[in-house]
Amino acid sequence: MAPVATPFFFYLLAGIMLIGGILVITRKNAVHSALALIVTLLAQASIYLMLYAPFVAGVQIILYAGGIMVLFLFVIMLVSIERSMKERQFNSQWVVGIIAATALGGLFIAVFTKGKNIFPDHVLSVVEDNNTQEVATLLYGQYMFAFEIASLLLLVAIIGAVVMAKKRI
């Protein structure tokens, strides 16, 4: 199915994402930051849908908005936020932060203005009907070894998280 009003939805979702990102790094209360991050992640999942990647969009919603953010909220609940809310929120590195952000942004702008012509418009005649099937074929075929390594990584992360958070080993 051909997409409808792509520019409108792109700018809407991009605006939501950027506003959410700004809220994440400026809010005093960590819970508000977490909620803003959830909004950002959901908008990004919609952008994945616009890019014809429904499987990645589903993974994004289930894993990020459903898994990682719940973990964040649990940890915010465990550590007391009352004290940290009374403290100064930004450290004295803001000069370094602004310089680094300006340099990075300038670098990106330079790269994009130079590379603008590398990305020509082309007609995309891709059907996304069997996207999940194709992703699975690649994941269990060509990327089988990397997939197994990823499962090992998750095992290590589980053990690591339990060992770190345990009171006495």
Binding site: V56, V59, S84, R88, A100, L104
Partner: protein, 116 residues
């Protein structure tokens, strides 16, 4: 105006770059460890957005150059990045809990035991 109304790969890359810069600012300037970890998630998401956008770009390329409808490598890679983000969040928040138990604070400026 014409280039603004036609969404190309470059638009997605610019959006990803903006999110990346926001995440870098958050990592460098915030003092709350939880929000620093959330900023790292923002950075990883910006990278993911780039990967999926490039995957879309390669799907429109000719097959003899490695493109075609089956060139979903960017999406596969973004799934791996999401896996890494989950592992990183679990371990990072575990470290945070251990740190909070010892020092009773989530201020990143007080993580200075190894400072010379």
């Amino acid at each position: 105006m014409e280039s603004m109304l036609h969404i190309t790969t470059l638009h997605y890359l610019v959006l990803g770059a903006a999110l990346f810069v926001l995440g870098v600012i958050g990592v460098l300037t915030r003092r709350n460890v939880v929000i620093v970890l959330m900023s790292i998630e923002l950075i990883l998401n910006a990278v993911n957005l780039n990967l999926v956008a490039f995957s879309r770009y390669w799907q429109g390329m000719p097959v003899r150059m490695g493109g075609g409808p089956l060139a979903l490598h960017g999406q596969i890679f973004s799934i791996f990045v999401i896996t890494d983000a989950a592992a990183e969040a679990a371990v990072g928040l575990g470290i945070l809990i251990a740190f909070f138990r010892n020092k009773e604070t989530v201020n990143i400026d007080e993580v200075n035991l190894l400072k010379w």
